[in-house]
Amino acid sequence: MSAPAPTAEQAPTRRRSSPRRRARRIRLVQYAVLIVLVVLALFTANWPQIIDVFFRPELVAATIGPALFLALGNTLIYTAGAFLFGLVVGTVLALMRLSEVPPYRWIARAYIEFFRGLPAIVVFIAFGLLPIAFEGMTIPWDPYGTVWVALGMVASAYLAETIRAGIQAVPKGQVEAARSLGMSSATAMRKIVLPQAFRIILPPLTNELILLVKDSSLVYVLGLSIEGYELTKFGREAAQSEANLTPLVVAGFCYLLITLPLTVLVGRLEATTAKAR
């Protein structure tokens, strides 16, 4: 960028096409195209119809009510439970991946590869069919228990790899210092390594929480009762019965209400981690 353009110096006759001028011309063209597109959209689109289908005011008002709040609450409960489940199982898997006993490493590796390679929806379909396949089988706290386990098993595979990276990022000297003080390796892991590992991976963990908020929408395949509806299922049902997309748009905004603050948080965390390095 800062190097002088050789063509401009060597061939003064071609100065008109110096890189900087060309860059400015391209920028102007980009603005022009944008303006044309916006004007076209403004004049050709059927705005009353679009607003009527996506943002009908009386439907917005009708959608915002107890059922929406229940769905929002369920999305949060499903996500939080699955994340906790994923963290616990993920930590165990990460420790197994780092174990000195090879079979533990193999088992963890197989689990992680299996669930990372599988579409999450397949796991949900499987969990939905379990009570049929195994007659009389129930998972406690239905439907929450089922969602927590299904979503948590998928999450744990991703979280395990993140947690393992965090553990490995803690300097070896930390374990040596802890062991020199007489701590067992389990105590050193619990008191010294894991707290630092989780601090290091806070930004990626938050990212995975965001992904999980969105993946919680997959529970619609479980065939839940109304009390179990989360945002997507709720929005879809409401949109279908109204033959209008407004309820789904409202539900979609609720996702942004959850994920946008988390995205901002990740940005902050990454900035502080970058500063601390």
Binding site: E176, R179, S180, L181, G182
Partner: protein, 292 residues
């Protein structure tokens, strides 16, 4: 006999560490090739020697941070190379101070000094805090208990590391070049703490390049080279009047008059890094993970 130097008349007790015929190799790299060394209660033993001679490896073998290839190490009568030995119990009696401090960055200074007391010695929170506070005051940091390690200078961090080790009330303190990572003006504080410890009768094994400190404080100086103990004796002999050619060569390099005006510490550094790559190449070496 009638006027012995006061700091060297501490009563000598039983053997705390007995190393015999210790061998240690990393792959094909034979680092220790038959070390014999005894440290008695109350003694201060300084280990000196060129870079790569295995000083750190010897120290780390004593508390089993490295597993010896062969030979025997007895710590307070326990054979630590014995598979049945409870190594955590042995380590409780040994304090270790690292060149890079290795404080726990997620804990406060006080918590650094209490976490092992709580988890290993199962002391109550109150008792652990009391012991930690006493040791922090001893190293001159009684006021900084609530600080985090990152808020302290290197010299202060190393003093916290000493307080952390002392809080476990060890029989023997191991120091691995405790001042080598410090800015020259911070070395004095750490050495003063170690001097005080020695005066109180603490048994200490110190790997160091601080020749002045070794001469003044050590009861014995051990010179290592090529994986063996070349010379072992009173500091006035080993440093003042070395019998072996290798010791003389090493000391000449470390105490080279062209380096002396920069202080013994810098001279030691210069000798240590004599074989290091030229400054221009340094930028290409990856950063050590210990630096945060």
């Amino acid at each position: 006999m009638s006027t012995p130097a006061p700091e060297r008349t501490r009563p000598r007790g039983e053997d705390v560490v007995v190393v015999s015929d210790l061998h240690k190799s990393f792959g094909s790299n034979q680092v220790l090739t038959g070390i014999d060394l005894t440290i008695r209660r109350g003694e201060v033993v300084c280990v000196i020697g060129p870079s790569g001679s295995g000083k750190s490896t010897l120290l780390r073998c004593v508390n089993l941070l490295e597993t010896p290839t062969s030979g025997s190490i007895r710590v307070q009568g326990e054979e630590v190379t014995d598979p049945d030995c409870d190594i955590d119990a042995v380590r409780r009696g040994l304090g270790m101070v690292f060149q890079q401090f290795n404080l726990f960055p997620h804990l406060t200074v006080l918590e650094n000094c209490t976490v092992a007391q709580r988890t290993v010695l199962r002391r109550s929170a109150g008792q652990a805090r009391e012991v930690a506070q006493r040791n922090l005051e001893k190293v001159g940091l009684g006021e900084r208990g609530d600080a985090h390690p990152a808020q302290l200078s290197g010299g202060q961090q190393q003093r916290v590391a000493i307080a952390r080790a002392l809080s476990m009330e060890p029989e023997l303190m191991l120091f691995d070049e405790p001042t080598s990572a410090l800015d020259p003006e911070l070395v004095g504080d750490v050495l003063a703490v170690m001097r005080q410890l020695a005066a109180e009768g603490m048994t200490m094994m110190v790997v160091t390049h601080e020749m002045a400190f070794a001469r003044e404080v050590a009861d014995r100086v051990v010179f290592m080279d090529g994986g063996v103990v070349v010379e072992d004796g009173h500091p006035d002999e080993v440093i003042g009047n070395p019998r072996h050619e290798r010791t003389r060569t090493f000391l000449q390099r470390v105490l080279d008059p062209t380096h002396v005006q920069a202080g013994a510490h810098d001279a030691a550094h210069a000798a240590r890094h004599a074989g290091d790559p030229a400054p221009g190449d340094v930028a290409e070496t990856p950063p050590t993970p210990d630096h945060h």
